[in-house]
């Protein structure tokens, strides 16, 4: 029963969603909409699990003074402080929570994102080393595309931007669509395996 009931629930919920794609009548559409609403509510409750998980692990680390416990302490302090400020003063624009979010969290997030520029450069350097025929082809095509997208490329050869567009829209798009079709079929297969209970390892059974 530990697996049969969840599998039956997954089947009913999954089939309802599949059928609702083809049957617009309210006798299917309305239960499907209700179920989507339930999903949002359950997801919201899952945050309690998330906070419990992060608090348990962090406090455990702080209590045992394991390596780098100070980071966990800072995390717990920040978690409690932000939650306290939000609960006490609200999360409206202009409040302390909003101020902390905009002036502390957003700049930190932007800092992380800005690292991407440097990582792209280092990854591109490694990827474009001409060690094989494929890597050389990649290097040449990437150089052409990069040149075609900057003004100097057009100066070198007026047809370069159009050629770059052709590379992006024809061979590149063909490869992308091939991958997308394969991935879509894989996604449908995985969904079908879940709905029919063929794949049930996610339930904790073998």
């Amino acid at each position: 029963m530990r697996t049969e009931i969840p599998v039956a629930m997954a089947f009913i919920a999954g089939m309802l969603m599949v059928v609702s794609l083809f049957v617009p009548h309210p006798f299917i559409a309305e239960p499907a909409a209700v179920m989507r609403g339930w999903a949002i509510i359950i997801t919201a409750f899952a945050y309690v699990l998330g906070v419990a998980n992060i608090a348990r692990i962090s406090l455990h680390t702080v209590r045992n003074r394991t390596t780098d416990w100070q980071y966990k302490a800072a995390l717990v302090v920040a978690l409690v402080a932000m939650a306290g400020v939000g609960i006490a003063g609200g999360i409206n624009s202009g409040g302390l929570f909003d101020w902390a979010y905009l002036n502390m969290y957003v700049p930190m997030q932007a800092t992380m994102f800005s690292l991407l520029a440097f990582f792209i450069a280092s990854a591109a350097y490694r990827a474009f080393r001409a060690r094989s025929v494929e890597a050389t082809l990649l290097l040449v095509v990437a150089a052409v595309v990069m040149l075609g997208r900057v003004p100097v490329g057009e100066k070198l050869w007026p047809g370069l931007p159009a050629f770059t567009e052709w590379i992006m829209e024809v061979p590149n798009m063909a490869a992308k669509r091939g991958i997308m079709i394969g991935a879509a079929l894989g996604a449908i297969s995985t969904g079908l395996k879940m709905i029919l209970g063929i794949e049930r390892s996610y339930l904790g059974s073998d």
Binding site: V18, L21, F22, V23, P24, H25, P26, A29, A39, I42, T43, A46, Y47, L49, G50, V51, N53, I54, R56, I57, H60, D68, Y71, Y105, M108, Q109, M112, F113, L116, F119, I120, S122, A123, A124, R126, A127, K176, I179, M180, I181, G182, A183, L185, G186, A187, I188, S189, T190, G191, L192, K193, M194, I198, E199, S201, Y202, L203, G204, S205, D206
Partner: protein, 376 residues
């Protein structure tokens, strides 16, 4: 008071409306506009479509009003460009009959006949999609049946999946943990579900090698599923006592806070094998490059097409698109799951044939074949 703003008797609404409409249209110096209201097909019975034709000029605007039968207290619906093809009025009730009125800037109204929205039992515009999906479902079931009868299927070698065990072995030799990142999307993304299935197999391997596995999680809803997958993997390996619940860690559901947390784990705990499976976005390269800088062997898999080049460039092995979904069958070698892979292959062959036919028919100027598959 406008002549239509009074309440009409419940019987014979159509006739007075038509007479009134004809009278208004026949007014000297006023242009004629004909308004038609019809039920929108293939919907849940909450919309009506309006179309109009008549002496309308570029730049004219029309004010649409609606009344519920038999009451003719008009309520404003929208103001639209007179040149557009029509208007769909949504959010209506199936239990009410409606009449519509449009007025141009000159104040000449046109009335529709009474009409009620009705719900469709089948969206006929998706019949081809339904047929294709049904065929695919049937082929999957046939291959599963064949697999259950003992038919063996050939599955090509997927280097990225073979590399997972190699990476775990290396981590074991170095005495360092394995990091498994299941993407940053929630469980409503099928990639995350596929990732959870792979996680079970990876956890089983790490347990058999007695190597710790760390699973940072971005969405709280994924936490219990990841915990269950890891726990079950350790049980399947016969080493449940090695399972450490503190190693499935919820970090943050904010993208870059999560990224910073995972990078911190890589740098502080010196993970020797990093496995990224699931749905990744802009953080993919930040994670993979940080992992590269720590010297970890890295295996990644995603169906997010824009992140694939980053993983291919920065990781040792990458699973591309469908390989992510094939991983559970490949790793478990379970015949039923392998059967679904063969059904996918068959579907790909059929799609290739259809694409070929589509290319030929479109080149010849025959659009009806491609129209069959147009999404609506």
């Amino acid at each position: 008071m406008h002549p239509l703003s009074r309440r009409l008797p419940s019987y014979g609404l159509t006739l007075p409306l038509v007479l009134l409409s004809l009278l208004l249209a026949a007014s000297p110096g006023l242009a004629t506009v004909i308004l038609e209201a019809v039920d929108v097909p293939n919907d849940d019975g909450t919309a009506l479509g309006l179309t109009w034709m008549g002496d309308l000029a570029e730049g004219d605007s029309l004010t649409i009003s609606r009344a519920a039968y038999p009451d003719t207290a008009w309520s404003y619906v929208a103001t639209v460009d007179a040149m557009r093809e029509g208007y769909i009025d949504q959010g209506l009730s199936r239990k009410i009959t409606y009449v519509y009125k449009i007025e141009s800037a000159g104040g000449r109204p046109a009335l529709s006949g009474p009409v009620s929205p009705s719900a469709s039992f089948l969206n006929t515009s998706r019949l081809v999609m339904l047929a294709v999906l049904a065929l695919y479902f049937i082929s999957v079931l046939i291959y599963i049946k064949l697999a259950a009868r003992g038919r063996e299927f050939f599955v090509r070698r997927i280097s990225g999946l073979n590399a997972i065990e190699e990476a775990i072995g290396r981590a074991t030799e170095m005495g360092r943990p394995v990091l498994y990142v299941p993407g940053i999307d929630d469980l409503n993304n099928i990639q995350t579900i596929a990732s959870m299935v792979i996680l079970g197999d990876v956890a089983r391997m790490t347990a058999s090698y007695e190597t710790p596995i760390i699973v940072p999680v971005c969405k709280p809803f994924v936490v219990p599923v990841a915990e269950e997958a890891v726990k079950q993997g350790f049980m399947n390996a016969g080493r449940p006592e090695l399972y450490n619940p503190d190693n499935v860690r919820y970090l943050s559901d904010e993208q870059f806070a999560f990224t910073a947390g995972v990078n911190g784990i890589m740098l502080r705990e010196r993970t020797a094998a990093n496995i990224y499976m699931g749905s990744f976005f802009a953080e993919s390269l930040i994670l993979a490059e940080t992992g590269f800088s720590t010297g970890a062997i890295q295996v990644a898999g995603t169906a997010n097409i824009h992140q694939l080049p980053f993983f291919v460039a920065a990781c040792d092995y990458a699973l591309i698109g469908e390989e992510l979904y094939a991983a559970s069958a490949y790793l478990s070698k379970e015949p039923k799951l392998l059967g679904t892979l063969k059904a996918s292959d068959l579907a790909k062959v059929i799609i290739m044939v259809l694409l070929g036919i589509g290319c030929i028919t479109e080149t010849l100027g025959l659009t009806s074949f491609a129209d069959l598959f147009t999404a609506r």
